[in-house]
């Protein structure tokens, strides 16, 4: 308490604000029983855990399952501490209580401290204070976000403590009932027993436990874990292998209607005169609804029909005079030229917002033996989730019900209430399985649209589904970026100076404007996601200035798996390879020389190199003729990943055969899911590296479907190996961390093969 009081008094206005809200110890995230409604026969023990009559453990699930395995991982944390089999944990949907908000996304997203300042146990005072303040605010806001690779990190202490607390009360109840010391009572798969012969399952003890004080609660010691750290099978694998898993698009309700959508093809444009007669003349078409912009979307027309095909046929039949965006047609070539101009001006004039500065660049540059300067580029990208964008809504009797595959149920609720003109309390959001998220479902434009349509269907539920063409044409795209990197090398070839000047749109201010307008400021504040992977690059370089110019292109931009890291890792890790080449050194040795004071990073890099058979590392393995290796190392979301790509050129095109990954993710909840995520992230990144670009001309996105927005398929998929470093630290992120290193590792391999340095994504020979 004393330390906190001191910190708060040092924080001025922000501190006063926090004191006003009152102190909230971490333990309070366990929550009160009233946060989690109970049904007949169930007994609530805290905000996360209730016990069913049959003794099963029911967990309030606040995170969305979009493939990342979070339902399994979070259930494992609870099963571990409550000593039940994983199959005995049943998930129930968490409600809208702010208890279920995500603290970690805000703490890691908003104050941008260099990783050296936030190393656990060695945080600097300003970093510690900043994180504490943001954690307080995050808890008060309680925004429920599944994103930022944060679910396990956020749940790690909270869920284990909630489960351990529940267990302590159940054991305490048995102790009182049997008049035996709690220390002699054992729990095996939810059955509580005492050597004297007494035995009862959780369901039989729950009611008494609810009236039993918690007493002393201790988390299990690491050496006593029997589930955490094992590759337990995913709890959703069977349902996802027999067609029974329910995604948003699979919601079926009595009287359900279907809606198709046609946005103005020009991003940001609108609809003028509309001739609806040809659509309404078609069988199975019910009505046409005009849609304004919702949650950042472009204006559109929706057609309601009795099947989605009938609705879609109606949408195609509409005759519409589309109107260009008032500020003029968007054009991606023009954007790229503008970004380059802005980056160049800032690079020469010391402009942009400096996310990180150290040392004396002017003096050190003057002393450098040689300089290397290069410009790198990345295009817009679409998410292309396999499940097309959809939402089902019903508005009846002053109540709104929404079924949505969403990463942000609270924002879905807010937009539904706003569009329907009701209080948020009148809105219920059912989160379904997500057929992929990748950040696209952090936006709720489609929820606003669905509710607007449902206002017109006389109380009947309606399911809005976007065609793939609408999805690719009206995404919130990964921002394009242009980045200029300049290094001054010393006589030993190692960099003494590093200047990075990047330019591109900032996502977070735009996302706040459209999703949480109350939090969007009048002026954009610097957005960490623009510079993540650049300002926090880990190599020891004494003199640095890492700056970003935030542009406003007008193109809708959003979070895309690994966000800024997705392209910034390509820039830095390709450039470091260039520096190694300029210094005439092996790219692996060169990196290791720059990691002398970063032993975790060096260990990960060595592990990947050894397992890949890199020359001079462990059992080096000769490559097949025509193949080459490239390496990259990147830290993101609190985890460190190194990849060695083995590639060749076939038919004039890059071909990736094998990707060896090593990672330090701290404590591992489920190594099977981690491997799955890293494999998937590598392939997701490979699609972007080989094929991905969204081009805009005349305001219209030119890519329309998978034939023009190709992605990697089985025949192009490499072998992916994952090796994890043993660690006793707290967990880091998992879902996104495998994406950033792939493109630079591949580009570095292609350089070995061709001698040509590719500085633009996608990689074209």
């Amino acid at each position: 308490m004393k330390r906190r009081a001191l910190l708060v008094s040092g924080l001025g206005a922000a501190g006063a604000l926090v004191v006003g809200w009152g102190l909230l110890p971490p333990r309070e995230r366990i929550g009160a029983v009233d946060a989690l409604p109970v049904e007949a026969g169930e007994v609530g023990l805290n905000g996360w855990i209730k016990i069913a009559a049959d003794g099963a453990v029911m967990l309030a699930m606040n995170r969305s399952e979009m493939g990342q395995g979070t339902h399994t991982a979070l259930a494992m944390l609870v099963a571990e501490e409550l000593d039940v089999a994983l199959a005995r944990v049943r998930l129930v949907a968490a409600g809208a209580d702010r208890l279920y908000g995500n603290v970690v996304t805000m703490v890691t997203g908003f104050p941008f401290f260099h990783p050296r300042d936030t190393e656990p146990g060695r945080e600097t005072a300003p970093a510690r204070a900043g994180q504490w303040v943001v954690a307080k605010i995050a808890r008060e806001l309680g925004i429920n976000v599944t994103g930022g690779s944060s679910s396990v990190v956020d749940a790690w202490d909270v869920l284990r403590l909630a489960a351990a607390t529940a267990r302590a009360r159940l054991v305490g109840a048995a102790s009182i009932a049997w008049k035996q010391p709690a220390g002699e009572i054992v729990v095996v798969d939810g059955v509580v027993s005492h050597p004297a012969g007494s035995s009862a399952h959780y369901g039989e003890l729950a009611r008494m436990a609810a009236a039993t004080p918690t007493g002393e609660v201790r988390l299990k010691r690491r050496e006593d874990w029997r589930l955490i750290g094992t590759a337990a099978p995913r709890i959703d694998a069977a349902a996802k292998s027999d067609g029974s898993a329910r995604f948003g698009i699979d919601i079926r309700l009595p009287g359900l209607l279907y809606a198709a959508i046609r946005h103005c093809p020009m991003l940001g444009g609108s609809a003028g005169a509309v001739d609806v007669a040809p659509a309404l003349a078609l069988a199975g078409v019910e009505r046409v609804v005009r849609l304004g912009p919702y949650g950042g979307s472009t204006a559109a027309l929706a057609v309601v029909g009795r099947t989605w095909w009938h609705a879609q046929r109606g949408a195609a039949a509409l005759k519409v005079e589309w109107q260009q965006r008032p500020a003029g047609a968007l054009d991606s070539d023009a954007v790229m030229a503008h970004l380059e101009e802005r980056a160049r001006a800032a690079a020469s004039g010391g402009g942009g917002f400096a996310f990180h500065s150290r040392g004396d660049l002017v003096r050190a540059d003057a002393a450098a033996a040689q300089h290397v300067e290069q410009t790198y580029r990345a295009p817009y990208l679409a998410h292309a989730t396999m499940e097309p964008i959809n939402c089902t809504a019903r508005v009846a009797g002053g109540k709104v019900e929404v079924w949505a595959p969403t990463q942000v149920p609270g924002l879905a609720r807010a937009i539904a209430a706003d569009v329907a003109g009701v209080a948020e309390a009148a809105v219920t959001v059912h989160v379904t399985y997500l057929g992929g998220g990748f950040g696209r479902r952090l936006d709720v434009d489609f929820v606003g649209q669905a509710v607007r349509i449902a206002l017109e269907t006389g109380g009947r539920p309606v399911q809005l589904i976007w065609s793939r063409e609408e999805d690719l044409g009206h995404d919130f795209y990964r921002p394009a970026a242009v980045t200029i990197l300049r290094a001054g090398l010393g006589a030993d070839g190692l960099p003494q100076t590093l200047r990075i000047t990047s330019a591109g749109d900032a996502i977070t201010p735009r996302w706040l404007e459209r999703g949480i307008p109350a939090l969007a400021g009048p002026v954009d504040t610097p957005d960490k996601t623009t510079s993540e992977g650049l300002f926090d690059q880990i190599y020891a370089i004494p003199h640095q200035r890492i700056a970003h110019v935030a542009t406003l292109s007008g193109v809708p931009v959003g979070y895309w798996r690994s966000v800024g890291h997705s392209h910034n890792a390509f820039f830095v890790e390709s450039f470091v390879d260039e520096l190694a080449h300029a210094a005439g050194r092996d790219p692996l040795d060169y990196r290791l020389a720059l990691l002398a004071d970063a032993p975790r990073h060096a260990a990960v890099l060595r592990l990947a190199a050894e397992r890949a058979g890199w020359p001079g590392q462990g059992r080096s393995r000769p490559l097949a003729p025509g193949r080459a290796r490239g390496v990259a190392l990147h830290e993101s979301f609190g985890s460190i990943v190194a990849q060695v790509v083995e590639a060749s050129i076939e038919g004039g095109r890059p071909r990736v055969h094998r990707v060896v990954c090593a990672a330090d993710i701290g404590s591992v909840v489920n190594p099977g899911i981690v491997a799955q995520q890293i494999e998937g992230a590598v392939i997701f990144a490979l699609s972007a590296a080989l094929h991905g670009h969204i081009d805009i001309a005349g305001g219209v996105v030119r890519q329309t479907n998978f034939p023009s927005y190709p992605v990697v398929r089985l025949a192009e998929a490499p072998v992916v190996e994952t090796h994890l470093v043993d660690s006793t630290r707290g967990p880091g992120g998992v879902g996104e961390i495998g994406t950033p290193p792939l493109a630079p590792a591949l580009a570095n391999a292609l350089f070995v093969l061709t001698g040509k340095r590719l500085r633009e994504l996608p990689l074209r020979l």
Binding site: A238, S241, D242, I249, E387, G435, R468, Q676
Partner: protein
């Protein structure tokens, strides 16, 4: 109109059973068989793959007028809870699915492949399974198909 799905004749309402209605939407929106998925609408991703007289077919481009008198099998009838298809067992054993959305189509394509080719080579697997999976489950589904072959 009547079509033959998963071993039984199924009636489609006359006012909606336009012969050009793609089988996908008849299955999903008229018969409630939602295991077959919509992904692209142009037979480019394979999420909607079903069996038509035992062959893999992309139901988003097969009009119902063309399936009269033919046998349609969807993921719902590939196996059962008591007796899953060997590929479904392999899918769980190899922990293939992530988001799971594309898996019905991939399983149906793989089942059709194994029905006509008991021991497919890697190249034959690549050629038969050109479905899109954005989660990148490819290495695992290849291993699962091999183990079930």
């Amino acid at each position: 109109m009547e079509i033959f799905v998963n071993g039984a004749p199924r009636h489609l309402p006359d006012d909606l059973a336009d012969p050009t209605l793609p089988l996908l939407w008849a299955l999903r929106d008229l018969l409630g068989l939602t295991g077959t998925k919509f992904g692209c609408g142009v037979a480019a991703c394979g999420a909607c793959t079903v069996h038509l007289d035992g062959e893999a077919a992309r139901s988003c481009v097969v009009p119902i007028g063309a399936v009269r008198g033919r046998r349609v099998v969807t993921i719902e009838a590939l196996g059962s809870a008591e007796a899953p298809h060997p590929l479904q067992r392999a899918w769980v054993a190899h922990q293939v699915p992530q988001c799971g959305y594309c898996q019905s189509g991939i399983l149906m394509a793989a089942a059709a492949l194994l029905a006509r080719n008991r021991r497919p080579s890697d190249a034959e697997i690549d050629a038969a399974i050109d479905n899109v999976c954005r989660c990148g489950t490819y290495p695992r589904l290849r291993a699962a198909i091999r183990s079930a072959a």
